[in-house]
Symmetry: C2
Subunit: 333 residues, 2 copies
């Protein structure tokens, strides 16, 4: 539906984490991005060629993808100047922001005048049911985190890719705008009406073959007071057979909440597992995924070894060192 | 905004629990209901005078309040015939259903033609912020349950009424349609977009005097897989100083989920308190509220005594025997 390739709009993202949509596309579908568009003050860099809108068109780009996920998701006036110009030049625009492209008058009229499309991938396109809690066939793994933005999507995508490479039955199930932009489908869970959250997750992960695994993208954290309700709906709607604990070891406080410290991996395990067993008594914690991006290789390997020892669970950075260990744990649990 | 008195529409509610909106109004503001309107097959009875629409008008009713909270909230064709007739006769209509009155063409046009109003109290009227988790002044008590529909709203309302009767600073904070219809304000939490749930609860319970208590209406249950995400947002957005455990002792399975048993009060305490302490380390479980409606008086008192003994906490049915015990526990915690 959304035409590729993309030019990735980084706007004035204050830092790399704020551009996690663009980062996800760059990491998982690099062939879909011809380059990046940055504005003055932009603190993010995908390592792609910096392009003007015109250079993007010349390189073949069809869609300008908003690669920035701001808190609250506001479309600033400075952005609008760029986006209107892009529509004039022939781009479609795709975004997963809370503020919808379609609700901005300038963008809607520029799209109409120029015959272009606006894609708001965050908006649910389905009337999700209320969760019924009935046991579904097939297997499900859920990545849960000590914090937001700590590698849950990468963990699920890595495990899916590893299973696919082994010829096993597997799907990545996107629950956020990045995953949806990358894979073209999923549930924009944080935009779903509260009563239907768990039902949306049930809808996303239906009955399947007994040897098929859904790798469900986690959201938020049970310990992040802004978003813990979304995490809970994933745990109960997803009725996971396996939990993978995700952690970023250099984080000093919960993302966006300077007064809140991070829980330990033990606290995450001891809190999440009993809750998961309400929906699926067979659920187990099978492994630990550490986002070691901020660590050197020796430091990363030492941290993983210490974590394995301490937790009694396989631990790896699936994006950096491969997801084989986690998939092995899943299959032999 | 919504004109009183009401005629309570019970429709074809299958049982008493399905008519909990009507029950709440009957119990807490009986002076606002002139009677009840029932359709063939209705299994609910508020003990009010059964009236036709015409008799309701003659008794002075201004608004027909939909007193039924169906799963999924569908407005059936049989209902629409009645509702259109009510608008013709001069009623406004108020409802808290997921399916909006305003989205039903027949109702909207009948309201317009007859100059009447449709009130969808479930719809958020505020753009709630994302929760920031910052500590707020004032005190908050949250009613949490082993299941849905087990007396959380009644517990919070009873405690508020008890504090008001003692001349103490207190507010009941409605988070569902019944509470909103009764008190005229609140947050329709189960209709809020997922990312803003906890922020809506922060908005509902702002900074206040140090000796002021908010009594927050609970929703769902951490153990009800359909709605647990909403409960979690209340625990983290509400940052309660005190939790009151609510339970209905004759329930054999989770409401609407025949395959799911209820947790014990101990499990509820041990699960909820650590989660509450993420947002407010000073939080304590102060008492137990038992909905003894299905028990005889001796049986109820015996159950309460046994619960007090077992849990080491004051236990009462605040609606039946008064909330003094729970308020005492709150003030001396």
């Amino acid at each position: 539906m959304i035409q590729t390739p993309y030019l990735l709009f980084l706007g004035d993202a204050p830092d790399q984490l704020a551009a996690k949509v663009a980062q996800g596309i760059t990491d998982w579908r690099p062939e879909n991005a011809v380059g990046q568009f940055r504005m003055p003050g932009c603190g993010a860099d995908m390592g792609l060629t910096d392009m003007t809108l015109e250079e993007g068109i010349a390189a073949g780009a069809k869609t300008l993808v908003i690669g920035v996920a701001n808190r609250g998701g506001v479309i600033s006036d400075a952005w609008k100047v760029v986006l209107v110009q892009a529509l004039k030049l022939g781009y479609d625009i795709a975004a997963g922001l809370h503020t919808l492209l379609r609700n901005e008058n300038e963008l809607q009229s520029a799209a109409r005048v120029n015959g272009r499309s606006l894609f708001d991938v965050r908006i649910p396109t389905v009337a999700y049911p209320i969760a019924n809690g009935q046991k579904r066939s097939g297997k499900r793994a859920l990545a849960i985190g000590t914090d937001c933005s700590c590698g849950k999507m990468y963990t699920a995508m890595s495990m899916d890719a590893e299973m696919v490479s082994r010829g096993l039955k597997s799907d990545f199930r996107a629950t956020g705008q990045t995953g949806i932009l990358i894979t073209g489908k999923g549930v924009p869970l944080d935009a779903v009406i509260a009563d239907f959250m768990a039902g949306a997750v049930e809808y996303l992960t239906p009955d399947n073959d007994d040897d098929h695994w859904d790798h469900i993208e986690g959201q938020g954290s049970l310990f992040h007071v802004s978003y813990s309700g979304v995490t809970m709906a994933l745990i109960h709607g997803g009725q996971p057979d396996a939990l993978i604990l995700c952690h970023e070891p250099t984080r000093t406080h919960m993302r966006g909440l300077p007064e809140y410290g991070l829980p330990s991996l033990e606290q995450l395990r001891d809190t999440a597992l009993p809750m998961a067993r309400v929906a699926n008594p067979a659920c187990q914690v099978v492994g630990v995924s550490i986002n070691t991006k901020a660590l050197g290789e020796d430091e990363a390997r030492a941290y993983l070894a210490e974590t394995e020892q301490r937790m009694g669970l396989p631990a790896t950075d699936p994006y950096r060192f491969g997801a084989a260990k986690l998939v092995d744990a899943l299959l032999t649990r």
